[in-house]
Assembly symmetry: C2
Homo-oligomer: 290 residues x 2
């Protein structure tokens, strides 16, 4: 099973961004990718750097422009495609939503981002209503996919629930970067933490993990900050959390990586964490504090 990762630097022109994605999808498919994963909100700039009501204009329905455009590509290339959209669910109601598109171009399923961040330059709570679909893998012809989105990556509960519900791969479209004023040491700690926690979901659950991140500097439209330097470093880890491939921190890139799904059972037999969970003692997990 081969998975393609597309790490892109975006501009304000959606058509240009989508045309680049098309080229990359073509490239990954020609290298044998059966699943291709794009980054979070891959059609546009990361518009959450400011709170701007006019940005809701670029939200789209599902089905709609993206599911049709990428549905056609999935069909043309006979691939399962993970898209990430700004979903307009109803007037005034929007989500950050991933769509798994089947090889025939149909929608296999969607995941609405459950954990929504809100920090200076990441004003997502303004734009996105937290998801209401829970943590449910999407069944596709290329396996049961545990699709999560960006901020979800910091929550072991999300990965665990996907695994408990039969996910065979965890997939994180992402848009995360550095504040340019941070020290090099702080930047390094942040990048390592981001890799480490996602690798840990592979380890805890004996599953491959795919993270696809945006790359490049996007200025802050408000001029308050110096913008976000999206750090790329898209990667894929195997069932023991071992890194199988990492992309650049500075450049657009694609890669196609082979993963061995049958290894999951072998790894879980050697490290039988699911055997030993103390479900009698986890009840307080559903509290805020205890």
């Amino acid at each position: 099973m081969k998975i393609g990762l597309i790490q892109q630097a975006n501009c304000s022109n959606i058509e240009i961004n989508v045309n680049k994605l098309k080229d990359s999808i073509h490239r990954c498919a020609s290298l044998g990718a059966e699943i291709i994963v794009m980054q979070e909100l891959h059609n546009s700039l990361y518009f959450c750097q400011t709170e701007d009501a006019s940005m809701f204009d670029i939200a789209e329905t599902i089905p709609g422009y993206s599911t049709e455009t990428f549905g056609q590509l999935a069909r043309d290339h006979n691939i399962v495609l993970i898209a990430s959209l700004f979903e307009r669910r109803a007037p005034g109601l929007y989500h950050n939503t991933a769509v798994a598109i089947e090889r025939d171009g149909s929608i296999a399923g969607i995941y609405r981002k459950m954990h929504i961040p809100d920090d200076p330059a990441y004003y997502e709570k303004y734009y996105f209503t937290p998801g209401d679909l829970g943590f449910r893998p999407i069944t596709t012809s290329a396996g049961r996919l545990g699709v999560l989105i960006c901020w979800d990556q910091w929550f072991p509960e999300a990965a665990r629930l996907m695994a408990m519900r039969g996910a065979e791969i965890l997939i994180y479209p992402t848009a995360i970067g550095w504040e340019t004023s941070d020290t090099l040491e702080e930047k390094q700690r942040q990048l390592e933490a981001w890799q480490t926690i996602q690798r840990s979901h592979a380890i805890a659950n004996g599953l491959p993990v795919v993270a696809v991140n945006r790359v490049g500097l996007e200025p802050d439209p408000s001029g308050i900050t110096s913008g976000i330097h999206f750090w790329g470093n898209s990667f894929i880890a195997g069932q023991q959390g071992e890194i199988l491939a990492t992309l650049s921190s500075e450049k657009e890139d694609t890669t196609v990586v082979e993963i061995e799904l049958p290894r999951t059972e072998k790894v879980r037999r050697a490290w039988p964490f699911f055997r030993d969970r103390r479900i009698d003692a986890y009840k307080a997990i559903v509290q805020i504090m205890d």
Copy 2:
């Protein structure tokens, strides 16, 4: 706040092992350690390589030999000491238990290992009844300590619950090693996975993590395997999972490391994961699968 880590290679003579621990405690205390952490089952060999009923003879009561011996050392050095014992709770009822000993030599609290492994050469389900105290931090004069033990380290739920209940540091006395017949690559994957998952608990919960592991080769008394090569690599990570110190993979060693507890709030403000947990959607965590 300074924490001392004691990584030791043990022999079959408990007196020799305990005398070495005394020397190391003295050394760490003289370097200013306020909390000193010893490895899992630090008095003896790792006796779980075989199932041998005579090994129950070395189990001890709490209070008993170790709490008295190490209580005296805690008092002498004015330190909080994390001990790890083979607890004899009643005839035929044994636990793998950590004890936090106060500066005055009293018992601040105990933690009974909740997740019990059982693999070839780690026959712990034979020796230890799974703990019945849950995941409760122990309040000491050096802070609220989230003491967990070895196999617990693979379960994000345990770390999360300790953090939700006010733990300020996560502490893992450990005994983990390589099977000598594994390839170098497999050994490297295992070691990295062990470091990665524990660093991820620091990240997910914004807490320092201390892991103290045994070192050295201990033969298999049954002769079935070539024994366990305990891999050392005891380490301490800061609140972003950054490594502050790592010990050798081959040698006995001690270190005293300063951690900044006030940094926890700063890190959690920057990465407010506790703000955003979706407690409405985590209920199935208490299932085995879902």
